[in-house]
Amino acid sequence: MEVKLPELAEGVEKATVTFWPKKAGDAVKQGEDLVEMATDKAVFYVPSPCAGTLKQILKNEGDEVKVGENLAVIE
């Protein structure tokens, strides 16, 4: 399953990956903090949409991501 950057606050269209608490191959639970991201106003976590294994990280720390873009793949 692809994990996308969800809709953010009104007028905010992108965010930057600041930290991956998990690495590829790690097990993740549904709702668990998957990736820390930041805009110039706030820091937030994107939760894992399902349980499984974090198969692939598609955006590295420091990468800017647009709303709807893929962040990772969970198997």
């Binding site: 930057t16 990956v17 600041t18 930290f19 930041a38 805009t39 110039d40 820091v43 720390e61 420091g62």
Partner: protein, 218 residues
Amino acid sequence: MIFTQPKPFEEVLKALEPYKKIFIVGCGECATVFKTGGEEQIAEIRSKLEAAGKTITGAVVVESPCHSAKLKLAVAKNMAAYSAAEVIVVAGCGLGTQSVQENDRSGRRAFGVNNTLGLSRVDAMNRAVECCLGCGDCVINLSAGLCPVTLCPKGLLNGPCGGYSKEGKCEVDREMDCAWVAIYKRMSKDNNFQYLKEFQKAKDHRVDKRPHKPVEIK
């Protein structure tokens, strides 16, 4: 703005004695204005540290290192150099230094190169003028826009002490204007002496209990 001045460099070097690899964080807001943490100062700090035998893994001027989101954004974009350091040197105020340390996931220490002197405005002659102590119980709406708590060395709330000179100078420092003379002159401009006509009770320092609890910004 938060007014800062550089610490003696020997003091900084002593604190950094056990460490070799350093990442430097500057401040793009107040410390840039006060020339204690902008691009130029970071370059200067870098060359001084290198001359002292330190290895600088990288440096970045963060828009506001005291703001976690802005700090994390800048760090994420410099992650390799940031991660390679043993400690972080912060050219900002005490807020910036503590913010960097609080936000460091590996628990590294952050060292400040500046002393934080307080809240200042920058006047038309480009001077840092201290005008607020952040006491938590502001009276300037009553005192003609001038803060007696800050501008009077005695923090008097009910007019001047008996020590001001005929020229309106403060007895604590004869080169300094008496805050209450200045407040009176300002009140005279619109003939509003409301504050002086009412007795001001001693400030309730209970409202200024430090540290203030974190407040959610909504």
